[in-house]
Symmetry: C2
Subunit: 408 residues, 2 copies
Amino acid sequence: MNAKLEQYARLAVRVGVNIREGQNLVISCPVECAYFARMCATEAYAAGCREVIVNWSDDYLSREKFLKASDDVFDHIPSWQKALLTENAKQGSAFLHIGASDPEKFRGVDPDRLRRNSLAAAELSEYRELSMSNYFPWCIVSVPIPSWARKVFPGLDDEAAMAALWDRIFDAVRICDGGDAVEQWQNHIATLKQRQDKLNALHIKQLHYKNSLGTDLTVELPEGHQWLGGSEVDHTGVEFVANMPTEEVFTAPKKTGVNGVAVASMPLVYNGNIIEDFSLTFEDGRIVAVSAAKGEEFLRAATSMDDGAAFLGEVALVPYDSAIRRAGVLFYNTLFDENASCHFAFGSAYPACVKGGSEMDKEQLAQSGLNSSITHVDFMIGTSDLSITALCEDGSRVPIFADGMFAM
Amino acid sequence: MNAKLEQYARLAVRVGVNIREGQNLVISCPVECAYFARMCATEAYAAGCREVIVNWSDDYLSREKFLKASDDVFDHIPSWQKALLTENAKQGSAFLHIGASDPEKFRGVDPDRLRRNSLAAAELSEYRELSMSNYFPWCIVSVPIPSWARKVFPGLDDEAAMAALWDRIFDAVRICDGGDAVEQWQNHIATLKQRQDKLNALHIKQLHYKNSLGTDLTVELPEGHQWLGGSEVDHTGVEFVANMPTEEVFTAPKKTGVNGVAVASMPLVYNGNIIEDFSLTFEDGRIVAVSAAKGEEFLRAATSMDDGAAFLGEVALVPYDSAIRRAGVLFYNTLFDENASCHFAFGSAYPACVKGGSEMDKEQLAQSGLNSSITHVDFMIGTSDLSITALCEDGSRVPIFADGMFAM
């Protein structure tokens, strides 16, 4: 176990954020996972990191705050938090996010408090924009905690559930006994790059999604769009991997070019609540109707956070036989579940999804057709019978997905 | 155990910082003691606290940083830390410090890095001055962690050492099964107030300390000095208890009125290192010689941090039979050890130790005879044969201590 944990810390630091000599590393981490933050810190210092700064969190205290704090605290981000994130972002520090949360940590919390707190994140726009445009390297990894493991494996006791979730996570991030995860990742990234190259060569104008669950959606892609995935580069040209695991290739849709219905194929954990059995209807890009069997109020709040929240910002392709899907569990954690399924995100697009986008200002990005928002929420729509057909610039129609799998 | 912990959290929040409706509470806490921070937060919200903010720390990460980070990180305090402390201080937030540290956490660390890091704390002077002048309520309590418990009880295994240290701490803070710690503290504070009243009525000009360990020291007290102890009041007049436990009555010496030798009667934990068997020689207030059998370099660094570090800032009286002394252990933690023994502090004086001092500016405090510094380090000099004789304004000589105990 300890050898695997060390491989994981090494992977997060050396491949994930790919820390450079003299660079700061900001680790955001729940206090319960301090042991893993410590391993990552030791690995980072060994790689020449200037200073490790930890931005700690705690589910219990967050929940207490949302339930019991004064009502006015949810409309602002404390200036010290803004300073921590923004100053490090502007310096090009690396950001490692260690995710570990009870999927329903905010069940029963006043939805208006959650909504206003998400809106207040607008005060972090400078940090957020630098992150979205890959100015600095960032990486999200996950570590089990009992409340989460119990949700994934409801039939097991805490210890067995934790062990089972660790197994699934190690598999998902390509860590095995005696293996070399770093080498595994280099091969994996090369595979994803081949997929992107094929997709980019098609010069797609529009994608048509269809499956038996009810999804029937056309998604236009902007001129100059680029399929990305696996690794990205920060503003200094250093390669990093933003998500571990990652199985997707993705790009941005044309903001106003989405029409039809997208039906979710998996639950969505949003703001510490679960949204289930939901669908979104689009007209000229805008979400004009939402429905959900559970958590509809959270879905409504999420898609009306600001004007951009009602438009798509990401289109991602993941084959139905991905390693994450084969794990055979629902993770109740978007980092994993989105890598088991084709997905979209509503909210902001990643600027790098159009050529030269990382250097564009807001207006130029909008002119390129990209959506912007203070939010970015992935939701899963892939099924075993999903078909995706591309209409290309040369007028040809090319099957991209058939029966849930790449057809190219 | 849990009932005692709840009493402890209640005591820290209701008596220690005495949280008010609508007030923020800043808890500084090691990540290992998150369970206790959570209990304090719940208690604070029940008392109407506006928001609980936790300033987390971690011995392991601090040590890694001092050993491995780039050399330039020790000369500055990150601006986000300054913002967190200073903004809350200026708002009059309550500050609860949960102390739990390996006494030798920085053994082997480059002393110059520790020294420069302490000097950098000058950037927190606004927070520090508001704290020293009791602008906001603050309280220090302690919680065991294994590395500390092992040092106190080297013969016991971790579990037994932790249990033994908890027992000693609960005794020290007057928590017992089925008791009412809040009521106990009200009685205790009343006893300390009676001592102060007696001392204040004497109008002492000078104290003469003498014992068989070699201490032979005269300490002048400034005109208008006040003996304090037990509880204090913040700028809004709300009572709080800055240390739990607290057994002392204290005041400030006249900066330039200290002459002779003070010999330490207990080891001193300073900056994660232990200083043992040491003495300080004073001439007209200034420390002109230091010697220590162990850790002399840390003592030299501490007393030369700035000019004020070489002068006394606190004179505190604790009888040799205090509850903490009777616990019969050396805690390797100043919060406890200083309450087992008469002590001094070199460095800054508390402004409230002269009448009207909390409203004085730096210059007025200096004119009153009070020392100022970026540091304040308590060290213990009490023994079973310590005598302290007061020379009063009216020329009379009054024995204050005889054989280590109050003689008034």
